[in-house]
């Protein structure tokens, strides 16, 4: 892993990461590698006891799909380090959005497929057949192994998910957030599969299909949630916090900072969320009678960039009045 030593500067495009974010990125990468290692173990283990249970199959496919977000994160974390070029003047930040979209579509497609497959199993009254297995010279019911494996793998992702969640906030990384969110909910999949198998055990053949339905619904739901987030980011929707809970506070901070500069009368910005960093276009109306020079503008730009590591690509446009054309809602007060 290249993030390595603290002395080495890490860039996202032109943005040099501050110490805290650099450390966070290093931890996030480590956690994603741990996730991948854990998933490889899980997928192999669950495959060994898969049997004829639809719920186990759904849980197994979910584990396979869980590889996508960590891989997307690690690949994107590499690609976005490239500085902007002539061909890519805005840099490579969108890589993370594309990775997010691909992962979301995969989740949605597989979730929907499993949903239909499990519903069909329920409607056609498929009775899942689970027989014996030889273990240490004794023949035991395979269902016990299934339940054991599912309960064994239920807990670790919850801890990994919580750890990643904290990092996602610091890095403003939505792929990491989505991944952490899925990990946190992973225990429900495992428990649902275990309950489904236990249901088969007491003779409720339908328990398996119902558990599979619950798991597929959660996969499809993850897909929809992520798809919505990924598409809105790629559509340049207003920048929101890493968990999409509300508008990003930097929006207000930038406008306040610009507005409180001596020669500025009024200022309003629009922001594109590029994944980690923001691209900002700020429209600035000078106070009556003041005539800012090119140096004043450059100074203002540099001061504004220093506000937060996420602001790097910032342009200031000097205007006689705030243009409604570029700043929808500016006349009505800015809220939609």
């Amino acid at each position: 892993m290249s993030a390595g030593h603290n002395v080495q500067a890490v860039h996202f495009g032109n943005t040099r990461l501050p110490e805290e974010q650099r450390e966070t990125l290093r931890k996030a990468k480590k956690l994603e590698w741990i996730t991948i290692a854990f998933l490889a173990f899980t997928v192999a283990l669950v495959y060994l006891v898969l049997g004829n249970s639809q719920a186990m199959k759904a849980a197994w496919i979910e584990d396979m799909l869980s590889f996508l977000p960590p891989i997307a994160f690690l690949v994107a974390a590499r690609v976005i380090r490239k500085p902007p070029t002539v061909q890519h003047p805005y840099g490579y930040h969108r890589a993370i959005g594309i990775a997010h979209l691909v992962a979301a579509v995969a989740l949605l497609v597989m979730g929907t497929y499993l949903l239909v497959d499990s519903a069909l199993g329920l409607v056609t009254a498929e009775h899942p057949t689970i027989g014996g297995v030889e273990l240490f010279g004794r023949t035991i019911w395979l269902g016990w192994l299934m339940i054991g494996v599912m309960l064994l793998i239920a807990a670790p992702p919850v801890f990994i998910g919580h750890a990643k969640m904290k990092l996602a906030e610091k890095l403003h990384d939505k792929v990491l957030y989505a991944d952490a969110d899925m990990n946190k909910a992973d225990w429900m999949t495992a428990v649902a599969a275990a309950v489904g198998v236990a249901g088969i055990g007491i003779g409720w053949w339908w328990a398996d299909s119902v558990a599979a339905l619950v798991i597929s619904a959660s996969i499809a739901n993850d897909g929809v949630k992520n798809l919505r987030g990924a598409v809105s980011d790629l559509m340049d929707a207003r920048a929101r916090t890493y968990d999409n809970a509300g508008p990003h506070p930097l929006l207000g901070r930038i406008d306040d900072f610009l507005g409180n500069t001596g020669w500025v009368g009024e200022a309003k910005s629009r922001i594109r969320d590029e994944g980690h960093v923001f691209h900002v276009e700020s429209f600035v109306v000078p106070r009556e009678g003041s005539t800012p020079t090119a140096e004043d503008l450059e100074q203002l730009r540099e001061d504004c960039v220093d506000l937060d590591w996420k602001i790097q690509d910032l342009v200031i446009v000097l205007v006689p009045e705030l243009p409604e054309e570029f700043l929808p809602g500016v006349e009505t007060g800015g809220e939609d």
């Binding site: 004829n52 009775h127 899942p128 057949t129 027989g131 014996g132 019911w141 269902g143 055990g201 007491i202």
Partner: protein, 140 residues
């Protein structure tokens, strides 16, 4: 645990086990030999008789083609179907199968794992049969 949704194991214990048989005897083994007027003979009928004895069940043999027998099995009219089936049988959508109780090699050198077909989802019955079959030391 596990239990049978349709109570197969309970029904055959001390009762009758209805077994579908279709002839399957060749160079690799005499799995099921059928001759009019006599009981089915071969490796699998012997295993079935042994299993039935542990459950104090009488065996009722029903002949037919694979298709008919699997169809009857799926509709709950049979408890077990034998006929030299292997674990890569195409009938798995319509029938459950036991653990392979024996392995042989076919003329192309491929390993054939021999199984019997059971009703879908009758897991207590299947497990009881698996336990019996795996306890037999069968050599190819």
């Amino acid at each position: 645990m596990p239990a049978d949704p349709d109570g197969t194991l309970q029904e055959i214990t001390g009762g009758t086990i209805q077994v579908g048989v279709t002839a399957a005897a060749g160079e690799e083994g005499n799995w099921v030999q059928l001759q009019p007027g006599t009981e089915p003979a071969g490796i699998e009928p012997d295993l079935v008789r042994g299993f039935a004895a542990t459950r104090e069940a009488t065996v009722e043999w029903i002949g037919g083609t694979e298709h008919e027998l699997v169809d009857d099995l799926e509709h709950g009219e049979l408890d077990l179907v034998i006929g030299g089936f292997a674990d890569d049988t195409p009938w798995t959508k319509h029938a459950g199968m036991t653990r392979p109780y024996m392995e042989t090699k076919d003329e192309r050198g491929k390993t054939v794992k021999h199984v019997m077909l059971t009703p879908l989802g009758e897991n207590a019955f299947l497990l009881a049969l698996d336990k019996y079959l795996l306890a037999q030391e069968l050599q190819s």
